[in-house]
């Protein structure tokens, strides 16, 4: 067992036994077909009291029973930043879009536990067949039973290849994310067959099509009905019909009775009659509402898991290494004009060694000790993620070890024996509410840096200022930054390390390493998955040795749900953000 496996076993503490239970249940479930498995990935069975009414309280998981149609799922969303996934850059908008719109492919999900090897692999959504005759051509045949919502002006007409072409052209002209598909040359359609011609090979093209931030298929009649149609409503081919949106109050969907997918027993999906997301920004409110039973499912900050467990009896907890990264970023002049001190990799490595990641994690999560989010998102799973504490990372692993003596030695070798003073920018609003560990980790960092003689001058910036300036690379010294979701692995490398001319939106520090960029290009052009994954590991080793950005820590995140919510799709992996089609689709409520 490699160290990496040891880590994942820790993440998935009780899953190993669960997986075995799954296989056992699979034997009986295979005939019944529709039997869903409790999928509380790593959840806490010991807190399930018999009083909760769940028949399966206990360590050996058995089936949820037959899915029961009906009911309204009550969830919550902290912000609504628009409804048109092509116009918005926020992952929140894309997540909401997944209730009403569909993609050609999506990421693989199952009810219950998905094997890690399958994380971040694609499966068909609108597509029924994918052919890849040469590296530059993808021929995708669409299902012929897909209808748009039966709502004017589209009135339930069939979804055809031309809709893909229309959506792609719209994406390419208006989406802030259009850079993600810059490698696509042309898209043409004949009936249900769509042909993508690429300008250059892109081995992860199917994953890019499944990305929840890019190509959603939207009908032309709806978009062109009025200038604001796509901002007032949603109309696609997804499992839920847009019902209403009241600002600060709620966003609601009804079941799409004509949805094209059936479950394995042939019953129509989705099971739920309606989904209602309350708009609540204040997390205190969210937790109170969940405790009182007004919400069925919420996400719980890691610091609050213990207290929530003791306050809400019967709640089921799911945990997932989420796709948020936290990192120290450095002023662009460090790389563009070799401005000291951060132009020197010894200083950056010293900074990394000064970070006691275990102690920081302990502050923000009771589990402590897990490092799931560096150097890339742990949410991509073990096929993609290189364990910074494992043996495979080699010499670069030393950069992640807390080592004050070595950090000081590096600093003095770099000419900063007495340390230095440096501004540290960070966001003082919004994150502190929505990402509660952010300010705690930030405070801890100042103390840890002080230990090696780096005196931090804190520069708090309210969110608007932070995003408009620091996040866009206009700052001095360093900053403590959060990176929201990367929809696929290629997006991470392209956005963080490509030069800005190549459309790298999140290269905050203007890192410009031509060797690294060439290697990224090489990885993206590779055609076999094995080769791509191998090169991806090499890239992680390389960036870990250079420390262009110094990864900090992101705790595992938790979701809590009421026991009556069943049919929960695996909550791990990069797929969770398309909550509509990859989550709510197979949810159901027991009485």
């Amino acid at each position: 067992m490699s160290q990496r496996d040891a880590f994942w076993n820790k993440v998935t503490a009780q899953r190993v036994s669960r997986r075995r239970a799954l296989q056992m249940a699979g034997v009986t479930g295979a005939t019944a077909g529709a039997i869903a498995i409790v999928g509380c990935g790593g959840g806490d069975d010991k807190d399930k009291t018999p009083a909760s009414g769940s028949p399966s309280a206990g360590k050996t998981t058995v089936s949820d029973g037959t899915p029961k149609p009906g009911g309204t799922l009550h969830g919550t969303v902290s912000l609504v930043l628009g409804k048109d996934p092509m116009k918005a850059s926020s992952f929140l908008t894309h997540a909401l879009a997944s209730y009403s719109y569909s993609r050609l492919l999506r990421f693989k999900t199952v009810v219950g536990e998905l094997d890690q090897k399958d994380w971040y692999t694609t499966e068909m959504e609108l597509a029924s067949k994918v052919e890849n005759p040469d590296p530059l051509t993808y021929i995708i045949t669409l299902r012929d039973d897909v209808k748009f919502h039966n709502v004017p002006p589209v009135n339930g007409r069939q979804l055809v290849g031309e809709d893909v072409v229309y959506s792609f052209n719209r994406y390419r002209s208006i989406s802030p994310n259009k850079g993600n598909m810059a490698f696509v040359d042309t898209v043409t359609a004949a009936g249900q067959v769509v042909t993508f011609k690429l300008k250059e090979p892109f081995g992860l093209f199917l994953n890019r099509l499944a990305s929840f931030q890019d190509l959603w298929i939207m009908p032309k009649e709806f978009i062109e009905a009025s200038e604001t149609a796509s901002e007032d409503s949603m109309l696609g081919s997804g499992p839920f019909l847009f019902d209403k949106y009241t600002p600060s109050v709620e966003m609601a969907w009804k079941k799409n009775p004509d949805y094209f997918e059936k479950d394995s027993a042939g019953n129509p999906l989705p099971y739920l009659d309606a989904v209602n997301l309350a708009v609540i920004t204040d997390q205190n409110q969210v937790l109170s509402q969940f405790a009182s039973g007004a919400l069925d499912t919420i996400s719980v900050p890691p610091t609050l898991v213990e207290s929530t467990k003791s306050q809400v009896s019967g709640a089921v907890f799911d945990q997932a290494p989420r796709n948020i990264l936290s990192m120290m970023i450095f002023e662009p002049a460090s790389y563009t004009a070799a401005k000291p001190p951060f132009n020197d990799d010894r200083v950056r490595r010293a900074l990394s060694m000064a970070i006691n990641r275990d102690a920081l994690l302990k502050r923000v999560t009771p589990e402590g000790g897990l490092w799931p989010n560096m150097p890339i998102n742990g949410g991509f799973g073990e096929s993609w993620w290189l364990d910074p504490q494992g043996s495979e990372i080699g010499a670069a692993g030393a950069n992640y070890k807390y080592n004050v003596t070595e950090a000081k030695a590096l600093l003095s070798a770099a000419g900063f024996a007495d340390g230095f003073e440096v501004p540290m920018h960070f966001a003082s609003t919004v994150y502190s509410t929505v990402v509660p560990y952010y300010p705690i980790v930030k405070d801890g960092l100042t103390a840890l840096f002080a230990q090696v003689g780096i005196k931090v001058k804190e520069v708090p910036e309210e969110y608007g200022t932070y995003i408009g300036t620091t996040f866009a690379g206009q700052f001095d010294g360093m900053a403590f930054s959060l990176e929201s979701v990367f929809s696929d692995i290629a997006a991470y490398w392209q956005n963080m390390f490509n030069s800005k001319e190549n459309g790298a939106g999140r290269n905050h520090s203007s890192v410009n390493d031509t060797e690294l960029q060439a290697n990224i290009k090489k990885m993206l052009a590779a055609q076999s998955l094995d080769e791509i994954q191998k090169q991806n590991f090499e890239l992680q080793k390389y960036t870990s040795s250079k420390m262009y950005y110094v990864p900090v820590v992101t705790p595992v995140e938790f979701a809590a749900r009421a026991p009556k919510l069943k049919g929960v799709l695996n909550t791990t992996g990069p797929t969770t953000y398309a909550v509509g089609t990859e989550g709510a689709l197979k949810n159901w409520l027991s009485a």
């Binding site: 610091t303 207290s307 003082s428 801890g444 708090p460 910036e461």
Partner: protein, 320 residues
């Protein structure tokens, strides 16, 4: 953000008629004050204690930052000692960063008191300047100043504060922010007070002795300095005392919202900043004491200010 609304009470011109007392009279004065105004004296006591804490929380007077009254520094994080309960070493426990909460509160009282007092000092100076000029000269100067005051007072103070702090201190460190808060709150409070002081200035300017001074050739500057200012100073001081509490609350609110003084700098309001993230559900006791400290501080200043106003405002004397 409250009591700028005290304004109408003082739209008359109180004159300080209290007999001057020598230094030797102080103990007796304080005794008489506490006999007549026990609540005010209680408030005064709180204020004195709080000021004592503010001054001696660390050895700042001798230019050092080592803690004096506080058991530890305000940002002395101890890894592994997070979220401890109450103990002898940590009378109020430790916070999420392993810092002694009691120490943070003592430092927080200093920040609150500093902002309260200096914010009000700015307000007194600015309102006297605007009020006197506006009231004494009248005419277009008066019109311009009054319209300006109208505009500022029409915008709810919290909006002005958020605007102002974002515009001027969004990318500054804690000290510049503190200065920004003091100046902006002082400015807003001054707008409310300026109008009252203008009234007092007009009333004074209409006195015969001012006419007399003018007839014998006194310059405007001299009249303002010798006659107007001494008469509006008491009004300004009374306004100031009743506003300290409001200024402290305003700072706490703005820091609570994340626009003020950020952690780890121990603003009492800022210590509650993470309330919106639900963090206090796990350790609700950590949220209690900063709030109590704010309330106590404001209570002390308000009680004291109230009593002081009763004493200084002769119209209310002997009412029993």
């Amino acid at each position: 953000m409250a009591s700028s609304a005290e304004v109408p009470v003082l739209s008359h011109d109180p004159v300080l008629t209290e007999r001057r007392t020598g230094l030797s009279q102080w103990p007796r004065g304080i005794w008489r004050f506490s006999r007549r105004k026990p609540l005010g004296a209680f408030g005064g006591l709180i204020v004195v204690v709080m000021l004592f804490i503010s001054i001696f929380v660390d050895a700042a007077l001798v230019g050092s930052d080592s803690p004096l009254l506080a058991p530890t520094g305000y940002n002395e994080q101890v890894f592994g000692e997070e979220n401890l309960g109450r103990s002898l070493g940590h009378p109020l426990g430790t916070d999420k960063n392993g810092i002694d909460i009691f120490s943070r509160i003592l430092y927080g009282i200093r920040i609150s008191a500093l902002i309260g007092l200096s914010g009000v000092a700015i307000a007194v100076l600015l309102s006297m300047l605007l009020g006197t000029v506006s009231g004494y000269y009248g005419g277009w100067a008066d019109t311009i100043i009054q319209r300006f005051v109208d505009v500022i007072l029409a915008i709810p103070p919290i909006i002005l504060l958020i605007y102002g702090l974002t515009a001027f201190t969004a990318r500054s460190g804690p000290y510049v922010r503190m200065l920004g808060i003091i100046l902006i709150i002082g400015f807003i409070v001054a707008m409310g007070s300026a109008r009252v002081i203008r009234g007092a200035a007009i009333a004074t300017a209409n006195n015969q002795y001012v006419d007399a001074a003018r007839t014998i050739g006194a310059t405007n500057a001299r009249i303002i300095a010798r006659h107007i200012v001494p008469n509006v100073v008491p009004v300004a001081i009374v306004l100031a005392t009743v506003n300290v509490g409001a200024v402290i609350l305003a700072e706490a609110a703005i820091s609570f919202l994340g626009y003020g003084i950020p952690p780890p700098y121990p603003s009492l309001g800022g210590m509650l900043n993470q309330a919106g993230s639900g963090e206090f559900r796990a350790h609700p006791e950590q949220a209690i004491w900063p709030g109590v400290a704010i309330a106590l501080l404001v209570y002390g200043f308000n009680m004291f200010g109230d009593a002081l106003r009763d004493v200084l405002d002769p119209r209310l004397r002997g009412g029993r």
